[in-house]
């Protein structure tokens, strides 16, 4: 029996019918909603490739049960860029060569986006902690950390302009 489920996804109200409330947000996004920007690397909450933002916090979507999503606010990588261009975190990864294969990149970008939403000026330690939560097998993290620092200053200059 399919259960109706309503939540906010990338600033839009969505209603889906889920067969199994214990299935994961990752599968819902990738298989039912066609949002394949969120990646699966381990399915046990360890690698961070599937990171999305739920109610402002970065969570592994492979552990987020759909049954608990009712009324909540979900943001995925697809929400970060649009006709107006890229999110500053994305721009930072582009300019700092922050990706190689790119498979971990959406997860890193979302984790950093959530951090900057909560703490616009995180210190080096916070950046390192955040990046530490997601695996990358390609880069050795040097250029991901460069990207994280660049994202902070980019965001700072953008909010400065907006004022």
């Amino acid at each position: 029996m399919a259960v109706p489920l309503r939540f906010r996804l990338n600033h839009e109200d969505v209603e889906v019918h889920v067969q199994d409330p214990a299935s994961t947000l990752l599968d819902l996004l990738r298989n039912d909603l066609g949002l394949t920007g969120t990646k699966s690397g381990c399915a046990i909450g360890y690698c961070g490739a599937c990171t999305v933002i739920v109610d402002g916090r970065a969570v592994p979507s492979c552990l987020q049960l759909v049954g608990l999503l009712e009324g909540r606010e979900v943001r995925t990588i697809e929400d970060l860029s649009g006709p107006d261009g890229l999110d500053p975190v994305q721009t930072a990864f582009v300019t700092c060569a922050g990706m190689q294969c790119g498979f971990c990149t959406p997860g890193h970008v979302m984790a950093l986006r959530a951090l900057l939403d909560q703490e616009p000026e995180p210190d080096e330690e916070r950046l390192r902690q955040t990046v530490d939560g997601n695996y990358c097998r390609c880069t050795g993290y040097v250029k991901i950390l460069d990207s994280a620092r660049e994202a902070v200053s980019l965001q700072k200059s953008l909010t400065g302009e907006a004022r």
């Binding site: 969120t38 690397g41 990864f93 060569a97 190689q100 294969c101 990149t105 993290y141």
Partner: protein, 808 residues
Amino acid sequence: MSTTHAPVPGLPRERDVLPPVIGSAVQRIDAVEKVTGRASYAADTRIPRMLHAAVVRSPHAHARVLAVDTSRAARVPGVHAVITGADTAQVKWGAFRPDLYPLAVERVRYVGDEVAAVAAIDLETARYAAELIRVEYEVLPAVLDLDAALADGAPLVHDDAPGNLAHEFAFDRGGAREWLERSDVVVEGVWQSTRQWHGSIETIGCTAEWSQDRVTMWVNTQTPFLARQRYATALGLPLRAVRVVQTEIGGGFGGKSGDDNTSVICAILARKTGRPVQLVNTREEEFLASRPRIPMRYHVRLGFTSDGLVTAKEIDLVADNGAYTGKAQAVLGAATVRHDALFTYRAVKARSRLVYTNLVPTGAFRGFGNPSADWAVGQAWDLAATRLGIEVPDLFLLNAVESGSVSPHNHRISSCELKQCIRRAAAAIGWYDKRAAPTPHRGLAMGVSVHVSGRRSFGDYDGSSAIVRLTEDGRAAVIIGEGEIGTGARTTLAQIAAAELGLAVADISVSRPDTDLTTHALGALASRVTYVAGNAVKQAAERACEQLLAAAARQTGRPAAELWVEDGHVHAPAMPGEDTPLRQPVGTVVRAELYRPGGEPIVGLGSFDNPSEFPDQLRYGNESGAYNFVAEAAEVEVDPATGAVTVLELAAAVDCGTVLNPPLAEGQVEGAIAQGLGMALTERFDWDGGAPTRPNFVDYKMPTAGVMPKLHVEFADSYEPTGPFGAKGVGEIALDPVPSIVASAVADAVGVRVHELPITAEKIFWGIRTGSTTPPEQAGPGGLSESAEPAPPDRPAPPRDRAPGEER
């Protein structure tokens, strides 16, 4: 990194006038796709009516398959096909030694061996049905380590491999025993490396669809053309029936080079169902059924004169093939000979054996045997430095190869800045200052390595070809089958084309491999794409450019010799009597060349074959046209109370010729070092009954950002005359020395020499306390992790601050 060079006599003048796009930090051409999540990886392929698949795997290390009952699975609503070995062509396949069936026929040979598979309407249904398949096994005795496999009367993994030997060879080049007997100092030891998994965050996956009698496979393979050949064999099909298209690849490292069954099973299911089928490994399956690094056990003997000149080296190498061979045979070759291209050995002797076991099959992994060779031979060199009382960098400098050196295996070294790398790595880590003022519990070490730029391995060809088409909108399309696994290869190829064509990199597109549509290519392995494919693209672009200038000459009535291309325009000086120079958009010239009676496109074809030799059965032959080098130095700190190791700093100086794109090259070095640190320190499983107890990321710990040391990455001032704009390969080399230098630095810090990977706190803890890295209750005869060097009678006092008697 510097792109301005003083003229060097004998080198092409090109070196002095590298185009500005060469050596500049050009943005990756695929960066935006990747940061936005739009890049389409193997599991992102979506085809209408696509089914999903699941595989049933052996729970036994060795068993006879008596019966497979698929009836319950087949009745599950939503299941479209269930297949077993009987549904396959029952043909063995493999890159060098065909020994693998697509699905088990009569026997399973390791925990994870594929037995049956299901295609269903969705993944849950496929997995549920797979669980309903009942397989009846008769468990057979298994060989679960090298010694068991080599023992007299050991059970055979394959009946046609007596003694469980998959491959062996031996040579003596120059009379090594005699040289060793006449050496003043001989060091000796046994070192064991371990299975290391590629750990790509994206697992192996395929989507297959048949149309009449042809199958198209969208695969995340590094080597679409080589994989296609093997898949056709495995499917019992003619080559023409298989088309392979490369998807975006979420990390390769050798693990996605087409030696496993996933894509083959996917194609069989697609044929049986008549629908597209997708099969993607779970993380657990990736650990069981991909092809990790080969564990190797080296017995090494190295000889020196009393003043530190190396004489000879002898190795006896046994390598754990696992249940199937894949590329392990070629890896064994590299692991035996390549490191001899580092030092001026007078003689080398080797015996190498690749041994079947009932364990996870092994294969190609970044470094291709070198990291295991360096783990053993690199530590032997470190021991030798201690024995000789010479600092490691100085010992290396005394013996390092140079441009023009020829190894005992006929590696003919063209460009070589190994000595520059050694000096730079020593300077970057502050070697001599730190030696002068040692800090307790801290240790220093240095290692060097050499790698190929392409390796003649799959027949007598290691070439590449490319087509450059100038488009009527003034851009260029590079059509080439080499592909992209994440290194940025397509971006560097675009830079090379841009440099030749006088176009902006943003105006160059580079194809993805499609075995129907692109040029034939061996793909991303053996650090070959920059060097081999780069040369092919360069020539294709040159030829397209010549045609463009000839066309412009015809169109404008000027001599072609006066024309050049820059900034997307064809230029010429003003004609006598005119005041404006010619400045014609490239697209205008291309269009004018087409839109006329008998019009023609502007298309350049380029081709390059690695100027190398196909090594013979005994691995003699110059396997590559260009060799890249690295020197790395590490400083570690050991907590004497727990044995925990912290790598504080690591300096790498790399000779990869001209650096085409500094951030991309640095990224290769940084990522390789991270992988080397994982191999050195944490990447392992607990095993039981021939399999990891929990094959997942929780148990198998790879480096995270928090554990990375401070890295210093430098590139030697170097130029390879046969490389595109002087470039050589860079993808693998920086991983190779890392495990050995961490071990040697630990020995320097606390006097404990670890002989078996990984270098765990536990081994060091026991080493500090008991002199043996094996915990007391596990100690037995022949324990490998115990220091194996015989105590030399005439050992001079160690020059370093070392706890006495702890390193034997």
